[in-house]
Symmetry: C2
Subunit: 314 residues, 2 copies
């Protein structure tokens, strides 16, 4: 595949040129340990003369989605979407008014944050059963157009963290393939990942529902069931990433306790690894989180100290 290799090399050169002559990279990041660690790592792993050089085919980064690339408090977007859909569809499902968790949810959804993992999953699955993937994506897009975040009063997709946008841009420019891990379900993010992130849908990894193949009017379609096909919460995340990518990521960026297995597994790989842990330590600008464990193998990123801005201006 020499043609491919030649084109790959040209792309790498162009990307370097863009990095050198374009706008300053990571411009929303304050000078400091986190920004330096990123720039140094990217330089070392993409310079063919460096002992830490990583060949382009192996340059894979996995970034967690909710809480890492945008806020996940007070309720994550995929969960808010599911609850809004349940409320909208409830009149067609009178049985929901007699069965928990629907019953208490339809009365008052202010306790959403206290639901257990199993109840949350049941809600997420039931809310969208029966839809084709195409119809599900349309529902997500419609919801995103109207929904506003309760604290920031802006559309959810305006709340992508600007420093993370710049990080993704830098990595893609330098030949890394960025994958986003969406615990709230891959399909939710896939409905807008092209528009918001400029990445193809296969770059999204996450929970999946069982899909059933149906023939309707001689036409083959897949339809969402209410059963989970695979789940990759917490300790299951390394296996999901290996299943999809066939390797340990070179770079992992995450924020929560649920991501620690993924962070440790990636860090244990041979060769250079960069594991960033985003700390939600800035209650003035975002929600605070107690997920603050450290490890010598992780580079902390302080929202408060390392980020000049959180969001792009309205």
């Amino acid at each position: 595949m020499n043609g491919l290799r030649v084109i790959g090399a040209v792309v790498a050169l162009l990307a370097c040129a863009a990095g050198a002559h374009g706008a300053e990279v990571l411009s929303s990041w304050r000078e400091g340990a986190a920004r330096s660690a990123i720039l140094d790592f990217v330089q070392r792993t993409t310079d063919p003369a460096s002992p830490d050089f990583v060949p382009p085919l192996e340059r894979v980064a996995v970034l967690d989605h909710d809480g890492t690339l945008w806020p996940e408090q007070p309720v994550s977007a995929p969960l808010r979407f599911a609850v809004d859909r349940i409320r909208a569809e409830a009149p067609q499902h009178p049985e929901w008014y007699r069965r928990d968790p629907y019953r208490s949810l339809l009365k008052d959804d202010s306790h959403l944050g206290q639901l257990g993992d199993r109840e949350l999953m049941q809600l997420l699955l039931a809310a969208h059963a029966g839809l084709t993937p195409e119809a599900f994506a349309q529902q997500v897009q419609q919801w995103l157009a109207g929904a506003r975040h309760p604290r920031f009063g802006r559309p959810y997709i305006d709340l992508v963290y600007q420093p993370m946008r710049e990080l993704v841009q830098l990595l893609e420019d330098r030949g890394y393939r960025v994958f986003i891990h969406a615990s709230g379900g891959a399909d939710f993010l896939r409905a807008f990942v092209e528009r918001v992130w400029g990445l193809p849908r296969e770059r999204v990894i996450g929970n999946q529902v069982v899909l059933e193949l149906q023939m309707r009017d001689g036409r083959a379609d897949l339809v969402r069931s209410a059963r989970l096909h695979w789940s990759d919460q917490a300790a299951g995340k390394p296996a999901t990433v290996e299943h999809i990518l066939g390797r340990r990521p070179v770079i992992v960026v995450a924020n929560s306790d649920q991501d620690e297995a993924l962070m440790n597994w990636a860090a244990a790989g041979r060769g250079p690894r960069l594991v960033l842990r985003l700390l939600h330590d800035d209650p003035g600008r975002d929600y605070e989180s107690r997920a603050r464990r450290t490890s010598p193998a992780w580079q902390p990123v302080s929202m408060k100290n390392d980020w000049l801005v959180l969001f792009a201006p309205p």
Copy 2:
């Protein structure tokens, strides 16, 4: 992500230039309906002025592996590899000599082709349980270095169909992302997909085993179990492809009856679709197969009439 888009556009231009000025495309394909259908489709879907233009983010092709990109007769390579490993490891597993399917296999493996799907899967799973993905990949590479195809007497990776190599090259040059569907297990192909196809490992889709996360000496590793994590035989293939890609492929290339659900599901998508069915109709140069069903939605590719050569010269 304007920087990404600019680079994408430059890559597309370079790819066009390479196509125009480089060696003739599809040079191992005889002039005819199949070759014309491919060239016409690629032209229509990559020309921004065409009504059939497919945006780069949506350009996804799925090619079946065994039987489509190389021979799968008399026994597919992943199965031959599993059996060779079982024979090599049998002395450490005296119980295998008393239990079928191992027992009859260890006595005489000439009946391999007659094993049922369930027995085959059991063999494939059991043969590699306990290995890390990294160790498994090494075993595959060692096996490939020594194994020879029983009819052609050449290493398996020398038996990649040359016309398919040219097709993959053409598609990648024109901005299609080629995914390979390996029913014999994604990890087998992933062990050599970079070297043989120049494609990153995440471009391989297929059966997966359950992976268990183990801590050894404070180090997190995944280990293969003998259980299937997900299976995508026959009617399950569309769901696997949707799970991984988040869309119907624009192009599908396949050969067997087991691929028909995938072919029909892809063909039923809105917009332009190209579904190629490779016919094994050339017993003089390869094995013959009775999988010959046609559909107006599929373009047949005759090994006998459409391909000038099968393999690159030794």
